[in-house]
Amino acid sequence: MEKLNPTARRDLFGSKINRDHSSALVYGVPWLSIILASLVPMWPVIAPAPVVPPLAFMFLLAWRLLRPGVLPLWAGFPLGLCDDLLSGQPLGSSILLFSLTLIALDLFELRFPWRGFWQDWIVAAVLIMLFLLLSGVFSAARLDLLHFWLLAPQALLSLVLFPIIVGVVAILDRLRLLRVRRID
């Protein structure tokens, strides 16, 4: 009797028999996670200075780097709008930066199609720092030298947090691809 392949019936994402991916999860989870991350200003934390990492942007980067096809190129506009409505930035700042990030990553990928932990982290680090710097410039706050000093702890925290966010996105990706739909 021939041996059945152990992954023939089940794999990481659930039973393969009579089950399929749910399109709501497949397309919804990335969007929902980024939108939820842009609700950070509604956390019960009243910060005296900018300290919290730009979570929405980091989730966007993590999804884009982990699953290149999952967000369309135009996703920067709706996601940036969500982020702008609550973040305190003038409306348009995140729309612009999110859109430019997605275009830049797409072009970067054409040139450097390889992947790896360190490459992704360095790309993310550069983009996060640019994002924080440009957000500060666009914020309509009166900027002085002190302000740029204050960016340093926020940027460092963001860089250290990024691999953790990628981990969270990987867990969400498993949730996204669960076979929950019953095929009739």
């Binding site: 956390w43 009243i46 190129l73 990928e109 914020s139 309509a140 204050l150």
Partner: protein, 328 residues
């Protein structure tokens, strides 16, 4: 590991068109974003309606969490506060028992105080707060310092109203939604409050700094009379903030003033009061074009005054406004 070659369209016309359309849409999004950014930098109040709608929708989520944030001072303390909730609870119960007794004593004293004041014939100039609300959250990512308040138009909150806590001034209302509003905190770099030293009449402007402290700029030049530990209160100039509300304490001296620490740290503030604008007529006058009072302006102000004045009100004094630019 190379990624899946999803975007390499090859000779497939349809795929080529899809990639092209994707770039086109994304560039259009970026251009629209840039346009919106320019509009909102030129006119900061332009998208207030959209923003307040969003904060109305999400405020109920934030409000639930805000109840747990008491007596904390920064981001990490706020998170730690949730872990220590149990032991703090027991301690607080004990404190409440003591506080109840003290409260009863205070009530008695208050009554006595009122009686004595009545004997002396002193008029009480206490104003009823417009609303009592919680600070839900703040823009902790951005360089701007806004907070969200759990009261809005439905509670009678209007733009420009001062927000205070028992410890002192917190900020002023900037945008009002139906059930939530946005507060410009004192530490925002666009916030300017006219203040004076509590003990005498050394007047200054308190400007927000990026790191959560205030910069006091003295109005009169000369030898810096400030000392570390001086407490500053609102002066009432500009008519927006009621005079005598505590603002900040000097921690560091510099050439033209001092760096001061905020007395009512918004991070440690649970419940805040929204107060009416102290002298709405003065604020209305100051927000007019700088050419001076117009005929209709005088009529409008006269209509707003409680009693019809015998003579037209005085032209606005050249004293500074109680705020940043009115359209901020």
């Amino acid at each position: 590991m190379a990624p899946p070659a999803a975007q390499r369209s090859g000779t497939n016309r349809r795929a080529q068109f899809g990639v092209f359309a994707g770039y086109l849409l994304a560039s259009a999004g970026a251009a629209l974003g840039a346009l919106l950014l320019i509009v909102s930098l030129v006119r900061p109040e332009a998208f207030a309606g959209l923003r307040t709608m969003a904060s109305d929708v999400t405020a109920s989520v934030g409000e639930a969490g805000a109840a747990g944030r008491v007596g904390t001072s920064n981001f990490f303390d706020a998170i730690a506060g949730y872990y220590e909730a149990g032991s703090k609870n027991a301690q607080m119960k004990e404190e409440i028992a003591i506080a109840r007794v003290k409260l009863a004593e205070a009530r008695a004293l208050e009554q006595e105080n009122e009686q004595l004041k009545a004997v002396l014939g002193l008029a009480q100039d206490e104003r009823e707060p417009v609303a009592i609300a919680r600070l839900i959250g703040s823009t902790s990512v951005s360089a701007r310092r806004f907070a969200y308040l759990s009261a809005g138009r439905a509670d009678g909150v209007k733009v420009g109203m001062p927000v205070t806590s028992p410890m002192g001034l917190v900020g002023r209302v900037l945008e009002v939604g139906r059930t939530s509003s946005r507060v410009l905190l004192l530490t925002d770099s666009e916030s300017i409050v006219p203040v004076r030293r509590a003990t005498d009449n050394v007047v200054a402007f308190a400007e927000g700094r990026a790191d959560g402290s205030l910069r006091l700029r003295l109005i009169s030049l000369g030898i810096n009379p400030l000392e570390i530990g001086d407490v500053f209160v609102t002066s009432g100039a500009g008519g927006m903030f009621r005079p005598g509300v505590a603002v900040a304490m000097v921690t560091e001296l510099n050439d033209d003033g001092a760096i001061a620490r905020l007395l009512s740290n918004p991070a440690a503030t649970d419940v805040v009061l929204v107060e009416p604008v102290w002298q709405p007529e003065a604020v209305a006058m100051l927000e007019r074009p700088p050419s001076g009072p117009t005929e209709e302006g005088i009529e409008e102000v006269a209509a707003e005054l409680p009693d019809p004045p015998a003579s037209p009100p005085l032209p606005p004094s050249p004293s500074p406004t109680g705020s940043a630019a009115p359209d901020e």
